[in-house]
């Protein structure tokens, strides 16, 4: 952090000012002039919270994607299919058993198994052949999409939120002051906050596992130099299978989350594949903190954009990507 400030004082200053303005907008009671200029504070706060929680969902999808790419150089364009598959599995389990938490576990295990099969059958045969991997996974995603359409139809599915998470809670953030002088607090769906907290926990756990454990050390070494790692006697194929299973499982969990927040339908696979592509391009390929930062930026841009400039919301996301590519083609937090 301090090195970044030393090397790019201008960028650091701009980021600090932006963060300060953002915090003021969230915590302060807005003066009347501001409300007239850009609308009510409740709308703004809702957009910010939606953006952050959506960023949590994007992080779950993109972190698996970037982990697989960073370690194995496997371009898995069927990652979106894993997301949708996890979502459908979660829906089936939660409607059959009524247990929301169980659906996470089953979705994780089943998508991880699909990931293991993918790694063993497809990727092990074409190691280092990026373009063939791309083509094959595109073909696979078409096949998966059609199989899932066959099995589940074109309907929208929504996973039922468990009773103990239904309903909004009041947050200690003032949205407005009534004429009687009584403050109005923000009400926000509890389930989105819980899921966001869970994705933060998963992210922190992943960071700790990567940076503080022996397995994480092996994985980081593999990202830097696979061949030397293999030469030191690590059974790298086993590591690959494990990481692929974990990354795929994360996509499956994200599917259940997405099915609870939003809905599941054909086409969501491509949407989330693209979201994770943009997130990792912005954040930097193969970097977990990069995926977190990218997911936050893209989620916020999407939600704030859809509130304040609805027509151009998608273009804002895209412009961010272009801007990042123009300034730092390797992504914001990539090391290279």
């Amino acid at each position: 952090m301090s090195r970044f400030v030393e090397r790019h004082p201008a960028w650091a200053l701009i980021s600090i000012i932006a963060i300060a303005v953002g915090l003021w907008l969230v915590f302060a009671v807005w003066p009347p002039g501001l409300e007239e200029a850009i609308g009510r504070k409740r709308v703004f706060l809702n957009a910010v919270f939606n953006g952050i929680t959506l960023g949590g969902l994007y992080f779950l999808v993109a972190s698996g994607f970037t982990l697989i790419f960073g370690l194995m150089r496997n371009v898995n364009l069927a990652h979106g299919s894993l997301y949708l598959f996890g979502g459908y599995v979660g829906y089936a389990v939660s409607t059959a058993t009524g247990s929301w938490l169980l659906s996470f576990i089953v979705a994780f295990i089943l998508t991880a198994l699909v990931g293991v099969l993918l790694q063993l059958i497809v990727f092990r045969r074409m190691e280092g052949q990026d373009l063939r991997q791309t083509m094959v996974t595109i073909g696979l995603s078409i096949v998966f999409a059609d199989l899932m359409l066959w099995a589940c139809g074109g309907d929208f599915y929504q996973i039922q939120t468990p009773n103990w998470l239904i309903g909004p809670i009041e947050l200690p953030l003032v949205t407005a002051i009534k004429s009687s002088g009584e403050p109005v607090y923000l009400r926000y769906p509890l389930v989105r906050l819980v899921i966001f907290a869970a994705s933060v926990v998963i992210g922190v756990a992943m960071w700790l596992a990567l940076n503080r454990t022996r397995a994480g050390m092996i994985i980081r070494a593999g990202v830097d130099d696979r061949d030397i790692l293999a030469a030191t006697g690590v059974r790298i194929q086993l590591v690959f299978v494990a990481v692929f299973a974990f990354g795929a499982g994360l996509a499956g969990i994200a599917g259940v989350v997405g099915g609870t927040f939003q809905s599941l339908s054909p086409g969501e696979d491509i949407r989330f594949l693209l979201a994770s592509l943009v997130v990792v391009i912005v954040g930097g390929m193969g970097s977990i903190p990069g995926a977190a930062l990218g997911a936050l930026i893209i989620g916020l841009a999407e939600q704030l954009g859809s509130v304040y400039i609805p027509t151009y919301a998608i273009v804002v996301t895209f412009l961010i990507m272009v801007l990042v590519l123009a300034i730092r083609p390797q992504g914001l937090l990539a090391r290279r």
Binding site: G128, L131, G139, I270, P310, L325
Partner: protein
């Protein structure tokens, strides 16, 4: 080994060694003459349905895939936004020309609207290309895919220019010299002429100094840079040419269907263009047209075929996906590669040039 290098290896033509510098090889090739004559007299043989729904559609899709083949085969850059460029050009024809949406279309005559659309779409593709050449290999695929997706969602949401998800309908087609150029037979010949033009332009460019330099850049960018070539300028120029080709296809596309909507620039359709080019073969300009013919035939007849086999006719995408998977699994240069291998296996061993190299 760097990413870019790996990506290049797979798209590099396997038959470089077998093909010495030739001038116009098709002149001596009877098969090419037969195909050309059949294409020219097609209106005598085929009904209106086959002429437009099969052959004209094949040629239009083939032109789009040809622009991708030029970038991928000669430049080593796999771009998934070629359909987006074509779609942009089609939208521009609808916006500048005459259509059913009087409050959007400016009502220019076609000879003014089409050059405008071509110029804007080429500029759009070149800008996208300038962005994409900053990256290499797999990143190029992802960025061009993201550009394509951004355009798709944008057309879906923008009502001022693109008329949202309903798109622009009843686009006027050219009508002059007393001929309705959208009638089946004249339109077929227009499409055939443009396709032939693009095909020969790509054939010519691949042997022209620019094309040779581009192939040099594909094989070894560092060496070309050391020789004094501006690597990025060559790549951007390749995108400009490919964008123009794709834009031509877009104009024909909008004349063919007389309407354009976000559905025709969807992400799935962008990927279809890649599938077409890869299935046909990405090493030679004829490949995309073969791939397009296979794709259109499958799309048109798979339903009947599957129903006859007692299966669900809606599984046509499954069939295409599985076929695509089979081809990329077993032959990296598509149908052309399979055909060449089959020919070589029938040739006596003594005639085989360069040992087993061609099998790679």
């Amino acid at each position: 080994m760097s990413l870019a290098h790996d990506a290049r290896v797979t798209v590099r033509p396997a038959d470089v060694a077998q093909r010495p510098a030739r001038t116009w090889p098709e002149i001596n090739n009877p098969a090419a003459w037969i195909v050309a004559i059949i294409l020219l007299i097609m209106p005598l043989i085929a009904s209106g349905f086959f002429l437009i729904e099969i052959f004209a559609t094949t040629l239009i899709l083939g032109i789009m895939a040809l622009s991708l083949m030029f970038l991928a085969g000669y430049g080593g850059m796999v771009s998934l936004m070629q359909l987006t460029i074509a779609g942009f050009s089609a939208y521009m024809v609808a916006v500048f020309g005459v259509s059913g949406n009087a409050n959007i279309s400016l009502g220019w005559p076609w000879w003014l609207a089409v050059p405008m659309a071509l110029a804007l779409a080429t500029a759009f593709g070149t800008l996208g290309g300038a962005l994409a050449v900053r990256t290499e290999g797999i990143y190029t695929i992802m960025i061009t895919l993201a550009i394509g997706a951004a355009f798709y969602y944008f057309t879906n949401q923008n009502w001022a220019i693109f008329n949202g998800h309903t798109g622009i309908n009843t686009v006027a087609t050219p009508h002059f010299w007393g001929v309705n150029w959208r009638a089946d037979i004249p339109f077929y010949y227009i499409v055939l002429a443009v396709a032939a033009l693009c095909y020969f332009a790509v054939e010519y460019l691949s042997r022209a100094p620019f094309g040779l330099a581009l192939q040099g850049v594909r094989d070894n960018p560092r060496r070309m840079a050391a020789l004094g070539f501006n690597v990025n300028a060559h790549r951007v120029a390749a995108y400009a040419f490919a964008s123009f080709v794709a834009a031509l296809a877009g104009v024909l596309q909008v004349w063919n269907y007389r309407q354009i909507s976000p559905g025709s620039v969807s992400v799935g359709a962008c990927i279809d263009v890649l599938i077409i080019a890869v299935v046909g073969g990405i090493t030679r300009p004829i490949g995309p047209f073969i791939g397009a013919l296979i794709f259109v035939l499958l799309r048109t007849f798979a339903l009947d075929f599957l129903v006859r086999l007692g299966l669900d006719g809606n599984r046509f995408r499954l069939l295409i996906g599985l076929g695509f998977l089979a081809i990329v699994f077993w032959s990296s240069d598509g149908v052309i590669g399979l055909w060449q291998r089959w020919r070589q296996s029938r040739r006596p061993a003594a005639n085989r040039p360069g040992g087993g190299r061609g099998h790679g």
